[in-house]
Amino acid sequence: MSELYTRNFCIIAHVDHGKTTLSDRLLQQTNTVSDRVLTAQHLDSMDLEKERGITIKSHPVTMHYKAKDGITYKLNLMDTPGHVDFSYEVSRSLAACEGALLLIDAAQGVEAQTVANAHLAFAQKLKVIPVINKIDLPSANLEMCIKQLEDILTIPEEEVILASGKSGIGITDILEAVISRIPPPRWTEYKQPRCLVFDSIYDSYRGVIAYVRMFSGTIKAGDMMLLMSTGQKAEVKEVGIFMPKMEKIASLGPGDVGYIVSSIKEPSDIKTGDTITLANKAATEMLPGYKEVRPMVFCGLYPIDSNDYEKLKAALGRLRLNDSAFVYSSESSVALGFGFRCGFLGLLHMEIIQERIRREHDVDIISTYPSVIYKVKTYAGELMEVDNPVNLPDAGIIEQISEPTIKASIHIPNDSMGDILAMIMEKRGTVDHTDTLDANRVMLTCALPLNEILVDFNDRLKSVTHGYGSMDYEPGEYRVSDLVKMEILVNGDPVDAFASIVHRDKADGRGREFCERLAKIIPPQMFKVAIQAAIGGKVIARDNVKEMRKDVTAKCYGGDISRKRKLLDKQKEGKKKMKQFGKVSIPSDAFIQVLKNQ
């Protein structure tokens, strides 16, 4: 079959705009998956993804569709991750396509993420097919959606397809549009074989399996392949496509989307965005857009029970196999014992990994305050990168500290403009420009220090805008800033895991707030416990943990002794689950709570 009859496309959408349901409909319509096998949301296979309605790993699938022109086309649908933390992954999935369905919820309209991803698609020169989904919702507002598409993304009304993934409206229109509007595979003329790695998974029997989009030439089992970013060679063991399960085929040709099993066993050797060519017919230029992915957010993860250290280590190792963006190395803390310094693409990525460690690997963990990478310059001219406040050198030798910023685009309703501007100010951000999206909404383009949005920015944005605000960001430049290390002392002893790097102007407020919150979260103790915040040994804020006054059980007679013992045993178990800091018991989730309940 000629590559002229192949179409490669993806679906880009905001969270909850119905991407997965629509994908399932397409699989159904093309008989790729029988109705019986089609569980709700077929493409998202991780529980956590289903629960949160977001896709973390891409799952491509090949469909065959007999179009109205009588020809059967091969359609490769790429699923894309749906969150800002994974924008590089999104861009690689887009790079593997010639077209994209831009999905918009008929009731919600265009969101920040939709704009961001649409721009990514335009940048990849993809043909964008706008689809307004969920048109059968009572709250659907087609007029608004169409106007937004025109105004914000300059997409003409005539191109819009109306659909409902839920009830199957417009599915045929979409498939026909994919064939007629999206061009056949590009760059097939290139002389040497080239394919793009857009994802990979680890299989304990077969090693690393690369998910690839073939652009030119063919690759088959037995070939010696070459990874262009590193020059590493490996033997191809098997190639195949996704139907949606992996199915072995003889060779991958131009335009194909499939997988390559090779002799590579080490997950970090296969990098998303890399180009694979063949050793004996090596290409000279890589496919465009490759980047080294670097984690932006760091925190320490520690087992609550120190006996679980090995179990945690194994869990991190297994998670890393399928997620090369996640990095870790061992570290130790006076307060928390032995654990790991972990790096993540962003906050959601961090939350997901923590949740998977708890849930899938059954290790109770405790997390320290998240940090970004600070660049420190000493008077001696030494340059260092610090991703853990504990490692910040003595203030006396630091000439300057720079911190990473982000470029954010924030979509908000007009009436929350004042609150959001105040919040951006509070977070030390600057607004570069303001664009009107429609009668009710504006888009702010601003620069913010990354460490200011680490914890609560997105939550507050949602709450101030009653859920209507959305944000997308990309990394910005490093800026010199007046930063200091703030320590937190519990009962006089600094708890290294609570240390953070903050802007000097905000230290007082942050310290006060932190002490107050921590004092509330630590359950009443049998004696007075002070919580203090300090900079360079000078206390800047203080609060007290409530003293426990009464826990005695009133009735306790002969008949109650067995019962009472069970009660005390239960209390003792509860206490065991807490971390002991000297005489103070801190619940293991206090760190997360301190960060979240602001």
């Binding site: 049998m526 009464k550 826990d551 002969g558 008949g559 067995s562 005390l568 206490k575």
Partner: protein, 394 residues
């Protein structure tokens, strides 16, 4: 202490005081369920009462009776709703097994069931201590607990009890009821004191699983306020002390000489024989509880079995641990010298280390080998108990 006489089984090392031996009878009948109560109780049908009394008789036959019984306690449930004839029948079963007249024989009575006929039967069988559940004199607060009597019934019942010659009367009161202020509680307490009882128990309302109150708590209809409760405890201690009632346990106060000997024995880890469904026993080297089910209890008795649940062998470590956990709730404290004689083989190194930590935290005081909780420690007795766990755990 009265010399009870000892047989071979119960004599211990030289210097050890002989152990008290008591009987507890659980009478599982109630006409309705109070919101705070988690005890086993059922409706008193004629058939059930007969099955119960036959069971008590059968259970009594399974016990290797040794030596005299110093105390008897009938609790429930509502023992007082048994008819005078049934009370007489129950008393006769017990009297067959007590060698001499017990020093103290208590019954719990609900005001609504106090009649002259019942009190006569009780008095004539040697019951010499009445414990009456009042809880509160406020109609509103009583309603909130699902209680079944009025303040008027309380006064009538109390008067009748005294008229019939009972010289040792306790009243049960409850505080920290939902919506109750400190002033309201003190007023309630004053009304109880005005009756001039010999003994007063004041119970801070406890939320136990499987009660109507617990459900209210989990639904957020009532709230816990430990700080408020602590204040009420302290106010209670002060008030009763002023009125001549000595506190001798967390919730118990008495005029001198009227402390409940039965309960003191259990807190000091003496021995007691529990009869009836859900009754707990501790004697002959074993601890165990009867099933909280009339039918199952009868069935096990027919098979010659009792105290089948939560069975534990009484080791020196377990008994020492419990002597401390429960004994420290008693104001008199725990006599370590006696305990060393009684439990020479226990892990004293552990106990001494724990006690000294708790002392450094201001929760207890040790002087001339007697450990007592401080007032602060008394309010935190559960934390103290939790710290002391570890010796006798499985």
């Amino acid at each position: 202490m009265t010399d009870l006489g000892q047989d071979k089984h119960r004599s211990g090392p030289p210097g050890l005081k002989p152990l008290d031996q008591g009987i507890y009878v659980h009478v599982p009948f109630c006409s309705s369920t109070c919101d705070f109560c988690a005890f086993y109780q059922i409706k008193p049908t004629a058939g059930a009462v007969d099955q119960f009394l036959k069971g008590i008789e059968a259970e009594a036959e399974l016990i290797p009776w040794r030596g005299p019984i110093s105390t008897v306690f009938w609790g429930g449930g509502t023992p007082g709703l048994l008819s005078p004839d049934d009370l007489d029948r129950l008393a006769k079963i017990i009297r067959k097994k007590t060698v001499i007249q017990p020093i103290e024989w208590s019954i719990e009575l609900a005001p609504a069931w106090v009649t002259k006929a019942r009190l006569e039967v009780l008095r004539d069988n040697g019951i010499n201590r009445i414990s009456m559940g009042i809880q509160s004199f406020s109609d509103e607060l009583l309603d909130g607990l699902g209680r079944q009597h009025t303040p008027k019934q309380v006064y009538k019942a109390y008067e009748l009890i005294r008229e019939m010659g009972f010289k040792n009367v306790n009243v049960d009161m409850m505080f920290a009821l939902p919506g109750q202020t400190e002033a309201e509680w003190l007023k309630d307490l004053e009304e109880a004191i005005a009756l001039k009882p010999d003994h007063i128990s004041t119970y801070c309302l406890t939320f136990e699983e499987d009660t109507a109150l617990w459900i209210k708590l989990s639904e957020g209809r009532v709230k816990l306020d430990p700080e408020h409760e602590a204040k009420l405890y302290e106010a209670t201690w002060e008030k009763l002390h002023k009125e001549g009632y000595q506190q001798y346990e967390v919730s118990n106060f008495a005029k001198p000489g009227f402390e409940c000997r039965h309960n003191l024995s259990t807190w000091k880890m003496q021995e007691w024989i529990g009869l009836g469904p859900s009754a707990a026993s501790q004697h002959d080297g074993m601890r165990g509880v009867n099933p909280a089910d009339l039918a199952l209890w009868s069935q096990q008795l027919n098979a010659g079995k009792r105290m089948q649940e939560d069975r534990r062998v009484l080791t020196a470590d377990l008994l020492l641990e419990d002597s401390l956990i429960f004994g420290l709730r008693v104001n008199q404290g725990v006599d370590l010298a006696q305990a060393r004689i009684r439990f020479p083989d226990a892990n004293w190194t552990f106990v001494e280390a724990k006690l000294s930590t708790l002392e450094s935290e201001g929760l207890l005081k040790i002087s001339s080998e007697v450990v007592r909780l401080t007032n602060k420690g008394r309010l935190l007795a559960d934390s103290v108990g939790t710290e002391l766990l570890g010796l006798g755990s499985d």
